[in-house]
Symmetry: C2
Subunit: 336 residues, 2 copies
Amino acid sequence: MKLATLKQGGRDGTLVVVSRDLARCRAVPAVARTLQAALDDWTACESQLREVYEALNSDAEEWQPFDEAACHSPLPRAYQWADGSAYINHVELVRKARNAEVPSSFYTDPLMYQGGSDSFIGPRDAVVADEAWGIDFEAEATVVTGDVPRGATPAEAAKAIRLVMLVNDVSLRNLIPNELAKGFGFFQSKPASAFSPVAVTPDELGEAWHDAKVHLPLVVHLNGKLFGRPEVGVDVTFDFGQLIAHVAKTRELEAGSIIGSGTVSNKQDDLWGSSIEHGGVGYCCLAEVRTYETIEQGEPATPFMRDGDVVRIEMFDRAGRNIFGTIENRVATLKG
Amino acid sequence: MKLATLKQGGRDGTLVVVSRDLARCRAVPAVARTLQAALDDWTACESQLREVYEALNSDAEEWQPFDEAACHSPLPRAYQWADGSAYINHVELVRKARNAEVPSSFYTDPLMYQGGSDSFIGPRDAVVADEAWGIDFEAEATVVTGDVPRGATPAEAAKAIRLVMLVNDVSLRNLIPNELAKGFGFFQSKPASAFSPVAVTPDELGEAWHDAKVHLPLVVHLNGKLFGRPEVGVDVTFDFGQLIAHVAKTRELEAGSIIGSGTVSNKQDDLWGSSIEHGGVGYCCLAEVRTYETIEQGEPATPFMRDGDVVRIEMFDRAGRNIFGTIENRVATLKG
């Protein structure tokens, strides 16, 4: 089943069920007006939403054309957005670039941060920021949970996964060093993220969803040029069950919590071999190519995003069909 | 105006207007069913809510008795909870206890962390945690904002303050060192917080609200014994306008965002002089008395909270009337 949120209808938008091919959609006010409302009462809503979905797919239902550009993030605002850094290769590169070791605990204890979730941007909205802040994207896979009790095991947590989405976790790299030095984690350096137009139930991924992981490449274009296509299910140290269980160790999680696994990163040899043009799988953020440059050349060469730059993030099934719709965020720089 | 949320009526509870003396209340489904709904549409709701409030105060309105024990936190779940550490005395003590300096930037650049907000506990709920985690309370003042545009100045941000609340920002001290060492800030060490039964508009504080600060003592009892009564408006390095502006530097804040100023702490001389029994104003968290003990005696002596321990947090006006109702959280330890 595929679900999306149109921007019309208030702060939380309007829930629509979307056909598998992303061509048609239908609002379902009699079931749930918003995605959060559906998640709040999933047991009651799920089968009704699935009925609409099946009818939409067979063209038996009244429908309207689905317009990704009219979408907000599936949850325009959420109560919880916790993001991990589960691709340890990315952490290794970042540490290597600053001559630091990766603590051994990082291979067993997930690195996660508490994100801000009150006001996401839409999948086609501009990223409005100051170029001096070092504007970067991070392409990731995320899940949306139902209620998760405190102390849930990874297996229990995995069962609470309701939906899968992609995200552009916008990062302001030049604000990070000062914030992390203060010791309390990210804040200003992690502004509003953009999620994929469509959220899908895990079964929608078929064989590409198992072991609480997504097993497909994440495809990233920068200004129309392929920039990355790493496998989401490869080199990921923790699955979503483990990440959710980490978050729920000392608190219960409420329905609609979004959990991310961090910028996707496959282990590759070097700057040359990792790039798309030389046969690598590329990168899901600018910071990663900059760490290769720093390690091999002493300093980063690739600039962060500039005014008008566009990042596009998508995932295709093995038959080449777009699963989640397209995140496409253009940078609109603030004039100081 | 005073507002509260009864636990009945779903995940977000039921909004009630509460009389100034906390004796009476009334649900207002025709205006807004939940506090978030009222904040989402404050311009339309505020005057109607104030009318009910005035009628309740003059006993002219139909009402039901107000029962603080039936309350959830005013926002049972919120989209944003950002907490500061604006009482630099607390930071100085913590750093001194571990022989570290306070960076000079801490006096001009607020120290804030992104809290989790998906599932708060109620003002009279138990804090369920493992004693080994080092269970502590932090008594604080907080504000709830309306919409705040990105880049708002402190003066603009201060104008967006809609409500004031107290909070017990539950902290798991023994989990903090490992989390902060990982570099991404708090997560498991900051479980669900409890807010005061009642949220009040700033005007309700009269002369005790000016310069975007609360100017009254915060009164903390531990197991029935006075533990702290520091002045909230004293020794606070940043006012709420500055804290909100910090949070809104790179992102807009949506209505219903909760901003805290951190555990209240007045500058005092030493362990002896700071304690209530020797004429001091005491402390708003156990960690603070433990830092005095560490500094003067080499190690902490006061234990963290144990099974059955109760913290009570209140604020009284100059005439001795309880403003926000009483937070009273008992520790119920998890059996491992």
